[in-house]
């Protein structure tokens, strides 16, 4: 298999690389030179093996499938300074107090 200038432009777009048009013929020649050496793999019978994606002999260690205690997962009451009948109690705002005083 060999690549064309169109292939290089397409792959550059996929890879978000802006290529100087003058450089494309050189890249085509270089990539074809490299890919020619890869063709040897197509002749290898790999029917007896599956593809590997990793090489660690110990495999990837997995943590316990329980998850850590997330500190903020608490009932909302735990965050409130005080509760009454399902509502959070907050201090009266000073501006409201002033308004009350004026209206009185």
């Amino acid at each position: 298999m060999s690549v064309s200038e169109e292939d290089v432009r397409h792959v550059a777009t996929l890879a978000r690389l802006g290529l100087d048009p003058e450089r494309i013929p050189t890249l085509v020649a270089e990539l074809n030179g490299i890919l020619a050496h890869m063709d040897v793999l197509s002749k290898i019978d790999t029917a007896i093996v599956g593809a590997v994606t990793g090489v660690g002999a110990a495999g990837t260690p997995l943590r316990v499938d329980g998850g850590n205690q997330i500190p903020l997962v608490r009932p909302r009451e735990a965050f409130a300074p005080a509760m009454r009948e399902g509502f959070l109690l907050v201090p009266r705002l000073a501006t409201h107090e002033d308004t009350d005083a004026e209206s009185a």
Partner: protein, 484 residues
Amino acid sequence: MTQAELSAAELASRHARGSLRPSDTVKQAFARAADVQAGPSGLNALLSTDRDAALGAADEVVRLQGEGNQPASLVGVPVVVKANIATLNMPTSCGSRILEEYVSPYEATVVTRLRNAGAIIMGKTNMDEFAMGSSTENSAFGPTRNPLDPTRVPGGSSGGSAACVAAGVVRIALGSETGGSVRQPAAFCGIVGVKPTYGRVSRYGLVAFASSLDQVGVFGRTVDDAALGLGAIAGRDRYDSTSADVEVVDYQAVVKGDLKGVTIGRPREYFPESLDARIRDRCDAALERLRALGANVRDVSLPHTGLAIPTYYIIAPAEASSNLARFDGVRYGTRSDAPGLRDMYERTRSQGFGPEVTRRILLGTYVLSAGYYDAYYKKAQEVRALIANDFRRVFDSGVTVLFTPTAPTPAFPLGTKSDPYEMYLSDIFTATANLAGVPALSLPIGRVDGLPVGGQIIGGHFDEATLFRVAYALEQALGEEAHR
């Protein structure tokens, strides 16, 4: 006696006893770096240093000792770190324009572990851009030169770290391996370089090139130095799910064992007809020494070795094209101005990446693209399984370690390898260990035309201890012959 002439263990011991001050050792290391011109105007091995931070760390080590803390293994030992390993106070440029000013907001686990062991981080070292190269000529900051012959390359991609150790600036340095980037420069510079088993060392904070192959490696002036360095950084890390929970033995304690019961395989595929006869002779002489020390030596075969370079140069660029997609001018490093977002991405990346990185991103994107994935990438992953099976079969047959040349040639002159594939062939004897995930080590075994030749020892998964034991025995047996 200068700090460079003392082993890392001896330095740490003197610091712990109080007969040598860590700050004096650090000053000597900086003075040595100036003498050998390790900076940009000379060898160009060191990209950045932080003298004040290093001296502050040396004082801190003394203070901690004064508080009665147990002396750690690398107390006051200066080290340098490859520029793709994250540190807090110096740029992690990866040898690239796109990350030229980039300073990481967090630190690599290996750096934390070195500091916890008492080591002093002196500086960051030059490298092939994003570790893509075998000569350190692909750095955006200019090539590194080999301290033994400045007209020649130090190997790569961790050439800056290797040059610093070879030039006597430090005894221990960190590099990274994807296809031979620690062992090949170790061979070219006449020092020891070890690539641990995949999973032995945390990759947290190592800028990813090819994640299924990458591993942090250690350079040492001697086998003992390398063993001490690896011992400090090895082990499970909860920040890297691919780091293995396998016990780390005290490598220094086991290096001095004998070779009784050790069977060494000489794989015929690593000694092709075309191999420089002088390199073959050096390897065979080393094998003779090992036989004389009590090891059994026998010929073995790893039949898929010849497929390693095509396989590696599909898998590594494929993974790199994905890993390097994150460098787009938005989150990291430099940004080139352009009228729209798409143009900004393209301009940033084309101006930020050098020619070899561009070539590999294109190659990697191509082999992963629709219509070519099965023919290239999937096929390469299958052949990788065959290569890994070769090693498994040989080790299952009773072979303890393999002995091979590290590289097909000694260090070559700067600027002489312009064909990309010719450069890729520098990794022909090293990439197999990365593909199979097994540990391997290079140590000096003599010289050819005055240039160092490296011998490679490859072991079974997580058996770094045996690598060190065989390497130490050979190093002691060769003595000065290893450097003649």
